[in-house]
């Protein structure tokens, strides 16, 4: 799943480790989520959204929904 975490983190000048600390996860988890290797659970996605003061939809792109919309056009 594509997401905006890297950009949002860069805007705030946070390292992966700093973000990981705030979320209570490992730096490797943040890296895996950022690179799309791992999709976070709903509670973790909510924590991320809360931290960046955004909605989940603003951070994570629902690729399946985007593909459906593209196909409909």
């Amino acid at each position: 799943m594509k997401n905006m975490i890297k950009a949002l983190r860069a805007e705030r000048g946070w390292s992966q480790a700093a973000l990981a600390d705030q979320l209570g996860v490992s730096r490797q988890s943040v890296n895996a989520i950022e690179t799309g290797k791992y999709d976070p659970s709903l509670p973790l996605a909510f924590s991320i959204a809360r931290l960046f003061e955004k909605s989940i939809e603003e951070i994570f792109e629902d690729e399946a929904a985007s593909n459906t919309e593209l196909a409909a056009e």
Binding site: G24, S26, Q28, S29, N31, A32, Y38, P40
Partner: protein, 135 residues
């Protein structure tokens, strides 16, 4: 419920892991040296040493499971997949070697070695699944 963070779960794991491994090391070394002092090793003593060496290993497996439950979700996924693949490889090896023994293709194999084999298979699987990032 208190949410365990990755760091506190890791700290808790290492705090338990180090003493358990030290006890295991002392039990295996002291136990085998002590047994060698007997001309004919008493069965009850052999059994006691075997149990004393096994208990820390069982405890280690329990703290490993506790770590799976307490660590963050990504690490949990990697560890559980590694554990499952390691178990599958080891069980597969047990069946294969077991059948080869029954068919008299291979001689008797020490069952003990399936234990270390499991930990090697689990460790390698975890590493290859992405756990290498965790090192």
């Amino acid at each position: 419920m208190t949410q365990q963070t990755f760091k506190s779960a890791s700290k808790r794991y290492w705090r338990a892991f180090v003493p358990i491994m030290l006890v295991y090391l002392v039990a295996t070394l002291a136990g085998s040296f002590y047994l060698k002092t007997f001309e004919v090793e008493p069965v009850w003593l052999q059994t006691t040493v075997a149990v004393a060496c096994t208990l820390p290993m069982l405890l280690f497996l329990f703290i490993q499971i506790r770590y799976f439950l307490e660590t963050d979700e990504y690490n949990q996924m990697i560890q559980l997949k590694g554990f499952a693949i390691g178990s599958a490889i080891t069980v597969g090896a047990i069946f294969l070697i077991g059948f080869l023994q029954m068919f008299h293709v291979v001689d008797q194999v020490e069952v003990f070695w399936f234990g270390p084999a499991f930990f090697i298979a689990y460790g390698l699987s975890t590493y290859l699944l992405g756990g290498r990032q965790l090192l």
